[in-house]
Symmetry: C2
Subunit: 401 residues, 2 copies
Amino acid sequence: MEKTEVEEQTKDEGQVVTPWQVAAKDSGKIDYDKLIDQFGCQRLDQFLIDRVHRLTSRPPHVFLRRGVFFAHRDFNDILDAYERGEKFYLYTGRGPSSESLHLGHLIPFMFTKYLQDAFKVPLVIQLTDDEKCMWKNLSVEECERLARENAKDIIACGFDITRTFIFSDFDYVGGAFYKNMVRVAKCVTYNKAVGIFGFTGEDHIGKVSFPPVQAVPSFPSSFPHLFSGKDNLRCLIPCAIDQDPYFRMTRDVAPRIGYNKPALIESSFFPALQGETGKMSASDPNSAIYVTDSVTDITNKINRYAFSGGQDSKAKQILYGANLEVDIPIKYLNFFLEDDEELEHIKKEYGSGRMLTGQVKERLIKVLTELVERHRRARAAVTDEMVDAFMAVRPLPNMFN
Amino acid sequence: MEKTEVEEQTKDEGQVVTPWQVAAKDSGKIDYDKLIDQFGCQRLDQFLIDRVHRLTSRPPHVFLRRGVFFAHRDFNDILDAYERGEKFYLYTGRGPSSESLHLGHLIPFMFTKYLQDAFKVPLVIQLTDDEKCMWKNLSVEECERLARENAKDIIACGFDITRTFIFSDFDYVGGAFYKNMVRVAKCVTYNKAVGIFGFTGEDHIGKVSFPPVQAVPSFPSSFPHLFSGKDNLRCLIPCAIDQDPYFRMTRDVAPRIGYNKPALIESSFFPALQGETGKMSASDPNSAIYVTDSVTDITNKINRYAFSGGQDSKAKQILYGANLEVDIPIKYLNFFLEDDEELEHIKKEYGSGRMLTGQVKERLIKVLTELVERHRRARAAVTDEMVDAFMAVRPLPNMFN
């Protein structure tokens, strides 16, 4: 299976999931089971979750318990090695295309922070300002500015500065990192890149050049100031599953250039307010809750746009109950309401008609308001000096303890 | 014409000239007149040569007088600006694929040194170790080593360290240089790159990514340590005409990203010992004189392999004289025998049969032995510290005086 991993289809039976497009079949829901088959990754099962619990001596994150991170590649190998006393490092990233993040953007960072704290491992965070400059009609300068703004939101998630290196490609590409880009690029034919990413002849060559840029943070030698002499350190990448094509390519190339394959732990998409047919889009402000939204914004958006599985009238709701399968407030609570008992209670009451849509939305508004308020306070405390400090090319003093 | 410059054909009527292949039609001679039409560049005429003489108050270089540098793009604009008191900078380079250079490799550097001395302008020299790593089956480390070895040969040509910055891509790509690579890459579709460079789907994406790397030294903002605040400084590129495709692309892109088009001054190829059907190849040691060849090597190669236009026997030679059009010793003397009068004398005597092949070859062996001996002495004096000094990222103290 390993040999043909990269050959797996990105598009299958009408379901399209690439780093640039997420579209369910017939505008229905993304079929995540099918995606696991389609991409050739593995399901993150209860056995692995229990193992994380045991190895870290702390309760698994809500995103693990509730199946938000639902797929992986070689996560078991990472845990095997960890159990033997071998550490790893984390790599995640963001394409800084918008001023402010929405809740969907926070998910990989919230989860990565949990992994960093639980396993006590170093973390590199790539801001692909070059990617956004090439895919969007944005100038180099604007993308650099957005990268720094987004870095503030990322830092606000609570990363440990003694274990975390944040870099932007425009800042950091060069030297050992660039050499690895060249090593990777040598191993990927244009035809193969077309097969993985769906490029056309009218796409510019910047797009064709980009996949190695996102690939090489998977290799410790790309960061000589961090991992000098640690070429065999394994890498674990928490990300949304739309990034899988990059890492299928990376895993295909890695052994050919003498490197370890990175392991992955992959999340489903955070659904849009309007329903679970794709992922939240930063370009439609009414499809998403932003970390900059006010209480009023959040209240209005949830009340007005959050797709409800409840019945049209109170009488009907009491009679038939809500369809939880399509209900966005329940889905959002599934991500962000940490109390398992309360969530179960709400689902039971709402599903059976003893709770009304308005009540569930009210609870969600409170949860999101608290989350956003907490983020806003944390972000306000992030100074430019802190951004400089996280982005400084430096050894990390507290990498593995 | 400017708009469609980039669309000019690289391959035409059986004559193929790209950065990776030089092949004349039906294995005959390269037709340089046709190449000028084919590429859409201009002939370097006597008027321009006289202008160089006047502006620099020194005799034009033998490579100008004898038509070795025979084509250009916008060289007249560079001279116009120079006449108004505006300086420019020079950019040339080398792909370091072999340990030692042959005579053909020296030509652009000898000519560039003349231009630097005559116009008193700064110079950047790019060593495309990344290119050679991607095109040849060479490791990153081997290409870096070759780049430094080749830098010694280049320094031995006598460049002024106060005006010259030598860099290798593996060392220098990043920052402002990388930002310009992204700006260029955004403007070139894959289809266009295929039209210019002839890539196929089975070529790896490293090749597709490379043209912007060779393009951006044409823009002063790629060198903030040299040209900060001098974004309008014009660039003049002395190179062999097989590099024209890179700079057709660069000139097409430049105005779209707010930069000046680089000007070019382009040479014909130094012919192989076996005759003028292509350019010297570093991979066939008997096709070329190397700067590391001993007197014995040179003597043997010239006597054994240098294609002669002389007659088979002394008697016939006296009767018919030599065919100078195909005679390699005469062609080599045309490049390297500086004395115009002596060259004319030899051509007259040899062409009319009063001089024999052996005598001409003897004169050539002396000229080349002196050249190679001079180069060897100069190279032996180049220390690793000097290489470091030329390659240090630093301001140039003596750029424009």
